[in-house]
């Protein structure tokens, strides 16, 4: 099988998987879930193959269709994209397992539509990762927006619909007004939209135009959630937790920041950015976003909302890394995409487990819950450490590289921002762990959200969905289908600490030694 076929398969498999889910019929939930798992595993195998190929220096390129000469949908693989593709496809497997447990435990309706849209969203994330030119990226970017809309509004309530409007309004609005304009403008100036190392705009456009264009691009990519266009992300939290976990902690938001890095590196070129200084002001915007959203996160009592603001803050790390316009910074950005993905998905998995199996959404209600769900809370703790950036967890490396870049470019202020932000991270992530282990349960809450209640919800003949008690009284841990993914991603956070250098090597062709 040639590399080109594999590329096509990588897009085709989730699409076909999605279609097969759609036509498997609503009656056979097991068939449907089985199909999703099989699809996700096949997909990861394909992506893994492609990673090997790219690592060996292969750059497979496929032109899907040619609209007019010079304007085509082209897939072209390179290491940066493969990192994103690898993360997204691996975490899809994990999330699929988690989603069954969650969706069944939560008795969600329209699960077929849910898994179909999920598959399409993954396909478009891969499309973004593989895109060989700006147009392709844009197309898949929009497909991703639209395919996740039904997921956000999944519950169909008025609140969900309102959130859906915010979601669509901001994401489509920024992409159509800014990104599309920027794209066509680039085409006018450069005569091409192909991603090229070193950028396509150098020498083709005056510095002023480059500065405006860059601003348009960065704000056009609303998925990067740079302030003030960040509101869609908290709004999207009305979605079921697996969606929040995979899409709004990994696929969608990472597609955003990945696009930012890709545009910086392949459209403008880091050298051009550094020379024109077009990115400096955006570095400050990113810094402000980091700090402000951390502060907002501290004030959120709803766990998912707090995590959402935390995500906004973390995304700006990636943006900041790219805006520093140095190779090390961009390397740090790319690495942070991976590190944050594992950390944040773990946190969301934990939040989901708490919502479904302990029926709690507010942090202030979670006192003492850690004693009841010890594994979940331990994983939450570890993942928090990774987000904060402490060794021996993956998160430390990306922050290290970004700080290094700030030092290299003599912008010490951003090191200060990174440090303050780490403190803020501690401040908004640790309380939950502390309350969970050491806080006192509120009696009133036990009454209304007691064990009987949740047992009542769980279908009796699904052994997979039974609470794990580990044979000890007082423990009502999430069932194995949920717990296993949580543990797996937590281990991932550890492992990444040791594999960071491997990632650096993989990225060498793009960012140099």
């Amino acid at each position: 099988m040639t590399a080109e076929t594999l590329v096509l398969l990588a897009l085709g498999v989730p699409f076909l998987g999605g279609l097969s889910v759609l036509f498997s019929g609503p009656g056979s939930a097991n068939v449907r879930d089985g199909l999703t798992v099989i699809t996700s595993i096949i997909l990861f195998c394909i992506v893994w193959q492609l990673i090997q190929i790219v690592d060996a220096g292969g750059r497979p390129t496929v032109t899907l269709l040619q609209m007019i000469p010079g304007l085509s949908l082209t897939l072209s693989l390179e290491p940066l994209g493969m990192i994103f593709a690898g993360v997204a496809s691996f975490l899809w497997i994990v999330t699929s397992f988690y989603a069954f447990g969650y969706m069944r435990g939560h008795h969600e309706a329209n699960q077929t539509r849910f898994f179909f849209c999920f598959a399409i969203a993954i396909m478009s994330a891969l499309g973004i990762a593989f895109s060989g030119n700006m147009l392709t990226l844009f197309v898949f970017y929009e497909v991703l927006t639209i395919s996740t809309f039904p997921l956000v509004t999944h519950s169909g309530t008025d609140e969900a619909r309102r959130a859906g409007r915010v979601y669509l309004g901001i994401l489509l609005g920024t992409s159509v007004t800014f990104l599309l304009t920027a794209m066509i403008w680039t085409y006018v100036e450069a005569g091409t939209l192909d991603f090229q190392k070193g950028g396509i705009l150098e020498g083709n456009a005056p510095a002023g135009v480059i500065a405006i264009l860059f601003g348009l691009y960065i704000y056009g990519i609303g998925k990067a959630a740079l302030m003030p266009f960040h509101r869609w992300l908290p709004a999207a939290m009305v979605a079921p937790t697996p969606v929040s976990a995979l899409l709004h902690a990994v696929a969608v938001v990472k597609a955003g920041v990945f696009s930012v890095v890709k545009v910086s590196v392949f459209i403008f070129g880091l050298d051009t950015l550094r020379d024109t200084g077009a990115s400096t002001w955006l570095a400050y915007v990113a810094a402000i976003t980091i700090l402000l959203s951390s502060i907002i996160a501290m004030r959120q009592d709803n766990l998912k909302a707090r995590l959402a603001y935390s995500t906004i803050s973390q995304l700006s790390y990636v943006v900041l890394g790219a805006m520093l316009a140095s190779n090390i910074g961009a390397m740090g950005s790319t690495m942070h995409i991976v590190m944050h993905a594992f950390g944040k998905i773990t946190l969301f998995f934990c939040a989901g487990a708490i919502i479904v199996f302990a029926h709690k959404t507010e942090i202030s209600d979670m006192h003492g819950l850690g004693r009841k769900m010890p594994v979940t809370f331990f994983c939450f703790f570890v993942a928090s450490l990774s987000i904060i950036g402490l060794p021996p967890l993956g998160g430390v490396w990306s922050k290290w590289y970004i700080a290094l870049a700030a030092a290299e470019t003599d912008q010490i202020i951003f090191i200060a921002v990174l440090m303050i932000s780490s403190l803020l991270n501690i401040a908004y992530l640790m309380p939950l762990v502390l309350y969970g282990y050491f806080g006192k349960e509120k009696p009133a809450d036990t009454h209304s959200h007691g064990d009987d209640h949740s047992h009542h919800h769980a279908p009796p003949n699904h052994s997979m969905l039974k609470h794990l008690t580990f044979g000890r009284p007082g423990i009502a841990e999430a069932p194995i289908m949920c717990l296993a993914p949580i543990v797996l991603t937590t281990i991932g956070c550890f492992a990444l600490f040791f594999y960071a250098d491997r990632i650096r090597l993989f990225l060498t062709p793009v960012f140099g030694g």
């Binding site: 040619q66 609209m67 304007l71 197309v139 929009e142 159509v176 007004t177 006018v188």
Partner: protein, 495 residues
């Protein structure tokens, strides 16, 4: 074969024209329909042949009655004319098969043959406008198409169709008369009615007051016809209350041909005068186009009837075309021309989808769209795809148009205009989304979600247009080549 290739241009007009009286003689509803459909198909084939011929051999001049211009009437067909002829014929060929069921539902049986006769006349009139090289002949065929479209609109089964039609008649006649007055002055100053002849003699008198006013009259005349903001008041009701098939046909063709006529006047008749610079027309036209884009889209957002919503969207889309014409460089002009084609596809498809809904539900009110995603999934999907095209999403034709228009604006360094184009398409997102949300995320009042799809005979034509709107969005090589050629011909062969 030589007979055909020699006379393709004239046949494209007289085949539907002569078919109309025969249609009256047929009288039988089914027969008349079959006849009209066959004629539309033949005309479509002819128009394709004509387009190929023009693309291969360049501008074609056909002398009516053997009299050479400026003494006789001549056809003057270049790429733009051939493209417009093709649009009209193609839309007719798609709408005709669709019309049968739709018209059976909406119009009493004894009038069917008259409807098909009017369809053919309207089509012939529009094609006649597109091919002619004579400024007065343009008026004659304008009236053939206008009179027949008044009748077609008035046959809608709401009584408001009658008032809409009469108001359109009055405004349309005023527009045509304005054109005749302007043309009279032009004729007075030059002594000619032949467009190419006028093009050579007008620069001599371009600075006379008479020609200034004449130009204004001519532009206002066609501005009324193509619903250029603020001369658009006739359009929303006319499109809303006309029978579904009629709306689909007229929305896709009539305004395009009027835009074409304006294009012809500005770029051919007044081509050497360059009215954009000489008369300062550019600023005015761009302002009107932008106003139209925004006002049309904003008004569309607040409509409660989807057909009317689409009608307002047409006003906005006409704004895009006029914008492309008035920016004035080859790329923007190409964008304007390609949008004529693209908009015909998507608006035709959208109105046909609404026709399907009307066929099944008897209404196109927004509130009656609830649950359409489940009840009429294919129709709803067609609407969604057409809506995407309207917004200008990549992989649909709308994107191609906007791509060129924005490029054209940026090439002049007018980036605020580029932004406004984008903002306007954002408004399109809102009005399209309103419908989509109701169709997919709202339950109908009676809770009936049973599958109740439109007949396949209506769905296929709808999907032909919607499919074309996607196909020509993914592979625009052909259409962009044609419209680039057309733009270059209009600009005098140079970029």
């Amino acid at each position: 074969m030589t007979f055909l290739s020699l006379n393709m241009s004239v046949l494209a007009v007289i085949v539907p024209l002569m078919a109309a009286p025969i249609c009256v003689l047929l009288r039988h509803s089914g027969l008349a329909w079959a006849w009209a459909t066959a004629i539309a198909g033949i005309t479509f084939v002819l128009s394709i042949g004509l387009l190929q011929h023009i693309m291969a051999n360049g501008t074609l001049v056909y002398e009516m009655g053997g009299w050479d211009g400026p003494w006789g009437i001549v056809y003057h067909i270049d790429e733009v004319s051939a493209l417009v002829v093709m649009i009209v014929a193609a839309i007719a060929a798609v709408v005709m098969p669709y019309a049968k069921l739709s018209i059976e539902r909406e119009i009493p049986k004894e009038r069917h043959y008259l409807v098909y006769c009017m369809f053919l006349l309207c089509m012939a009139g529009l094609i006649g406008m597109a091919v002619t090289g004579d400024a007065f002949n343009l008026f004659v065929f304008l009236e053939v198409s206008s009179l027949s479209s008044y009748v077609l609109i008035s046959l809608g089964n709401d009584r408001r169709a009658l008032t809409a039609s009469l108001r359109y008649l009055i405004i349309g006649t005023l527009g045509a008369t304005f054109y005749v007055i302007g043309l009279g002055m032009i004729y007075m100053m030059t002594g000619s009615l032949n467009m190419t002849d006028l093009a050579t003699s007008l620069p001599e008198v371009q600075d006379t007051q008479t020609i200034h006013v004449a130009f204004a009259f001519v532009i206002i005349g066609f501005g009324l016809k193509l619903a250029l903001f603020p001369l658009h008041i006739w359009l929303p009701n006319a499109y809303t209350y006309a029978p579904s098939a009629v709306t689909a046909f007229l929305a896709a063709t009539a305004t395009k041909v009027a835009v074409y006529a304006m294009l012809r006047l500005i770029y051919t008749v007044f081509g050497d005068v360059n009215p954009f610079e000489t008369y300062g027309l550019r600023g005015v036209m761009i302002a009107l186009a932008l106003l139209g884009m925004f006002a049309g889209s904003l008004l569309a957002i607040f409509q409660t009837n989807v057909k009317r919503l689409l009608a307002y969207s047409s006003i906005a889309q006409v704004g895009y075309m006029v914008l492309g014409i008035s920016i004035g460089n080859a790329i923007a002009l190409e964008g304007g021309i390609i949008h004529m084609f693209n908009h015909a596809l998507m608006k035709g498809g959208l109105f046909m989808a609404m026709g399907c809904v009307f066929y099944m539900v008897g209404s196109t009110d927004l509130k009656d769209m609830a649950g359409m995603g489940k009840r009429m999934p294919l129709t709803a999907a067609a609407f969604v795809i057409g809506g995407f095209a309207l917004v200008g999403t990549p992989l649909t034709v709308g994107f191609i148009s906007k791509f060129y228009l924005v490029q054209g604006a940026l090439a002049e360094g007018w980036w605020p205009i580029a932004f406004m184009i984008m903002f306007a398409s954002l408004l399109a997102v809102i009005y399209v989304w309103r419908v989509v949300e109701v169709m997919y995320f709202q339950k109908p009042a009676d809770g009936d979600l049973s599958y109740n799809e439109a007949p396949i005979a209506m769905l296929i034509p709808t999907y032909v247009l919607i499919g074309a709107a996607v196909y020509f969005g993914t592979d625009a090589t052909l259409t962009s080549e044609i419209s680039l050629n057309a733009a270059q011909t209009l600009l005098g062969g140079s970029k």
